[in-house]
Assembly symmetry: C2
Homo-oligomer: 197 residues x 2
DNA sequence: CCTACCGATCGGTAGG
DNA sequence: CCTACCGATCGGTAGG
């Protein structure tokens, strides 16, 4: 029954990708060996190759899945009727939630994409650049409508996206505030600033 | 003349560390080989070992030099008489300027420190944690004095420090705003927020 | 899914 | 500073 065989293969592939995301985040792509990964999955290294084509393919899967999720949400926001500041806030919240709940993969896509090889590398860099430009576009609309103060939009994008990657520290922290409080604090600081007033 | 020999050795060591910082940033610590590094320095791989003890030692030098610079500036701020918000702003500016002018080393210390080995790894993690706690302390003083709004101080630290690492994108950007404009925009967004008002 | 193994490359050393 | 080389480990394949 080929249907069952496909399910088995693909679910084992998902286990491999999920364990790989965990290891790539902890040790980095280059410092993670296929023998490390095999041990975590519970098979010999050679057996991994029945499910995946190469180490490079695993990284590709992780990076492009994450990229597609973010691009899909961005497009929803572009087509929505909200105010620009609400769109920016929603995108920020989406990033925060992804970083909280899909931490391993999101972090790997953010930090390890440099180890992709062409043509995937160029493709990924293009997608990344496009995403940032379109997000900057939304911010610029907000500035034009005077909902957002006159700042350099690409700089705002850079701050937002990198601030979110700080959630890494939250994950590692012993005495954490709740995910809800984290999200609330991050949105307030980025939207309203630090200064009291 | 041992004095001259020492100078020659230490300046060659500086060249090695500087080229290593560049490569570690571009490719990551694990993906940079000593043969890569040797080629960039202009010698054979074996010759590097007349100046440095190991690949690990190079990373240690980079990470602890950067850590010491930040810790020194933090201590200056702790001992200064400015308002808390001015202290936070000065620390933010120090991070931004370091990231602009000592980009390679600062970026490596920020992203590649996981590849340190004990006892250096534990030492670095402790310093990092201490730095963040003390910066959070300054922010908490600002909250107590109502100069800073009531937010979770560790979350503010996390946002500030990670936002600054976004300067990486600025370095890679073709059509950059000036370093001064970048600094001004980053400080405004983080201190005053995005929303117009 | 395993055993057995490949060529390439790694960080590092010996010796001059 | 170089040539020559070491043992270890890498990603991946053959064959069953």
């Amino acid at each position: 029954m080929p249907a069952i065989k496909t399910n088995r293969n693909s679910s084992k592939k998902e286990v491999i990708i999920s364990k790989a995301a965990k290891l790539f985040r902890e040790k980095g792509f280059s410092a993670t060996s296929m023998r490390d990964l095999a041990e975590n999955v519970g098979v010999e290294a050679a057996s991994l190759y029945n499910h995946i084509r190469s180490k490079a393919e695993i990284l590709q899967e992780i990076c492009f899945r994450v990229a597609n999720q973010f691009m899909t949400h961005l497009e929803e926001m572009e087509n929505s009727k909200q105010s620009s500041i609400a769109k920016v806030q929603s995108i920020l919240q989406f990033h925060i939630r992804q970083m909280i709940h899909n931490y391993e993969a999101v972090h790997v896509a953010d930090r390890e994409w440099k180890h992709l090889t062409d043509p995937y590398l160029s493709n990924f860099k293009t997608q990344r650049k496009t995403y940032r430009q379109r997000l900057a576009g939304i911010i610029e609309q907000g500035i034009a409508k005077k909902e957002i103060k006159k700042i350099d939009a690409p700089t705002a994008v850079l701050i937002m996206l990198h601030a979110v990657s700080g959630i890494e520290s939250w994950h590692r922290s012993k005495q954490k505030i709740s995910a809800e409080q984290l999200e609330e604090n991050m949105v307030i600081i980025l939207v309203e600033g630090l200064r009291a007033g």
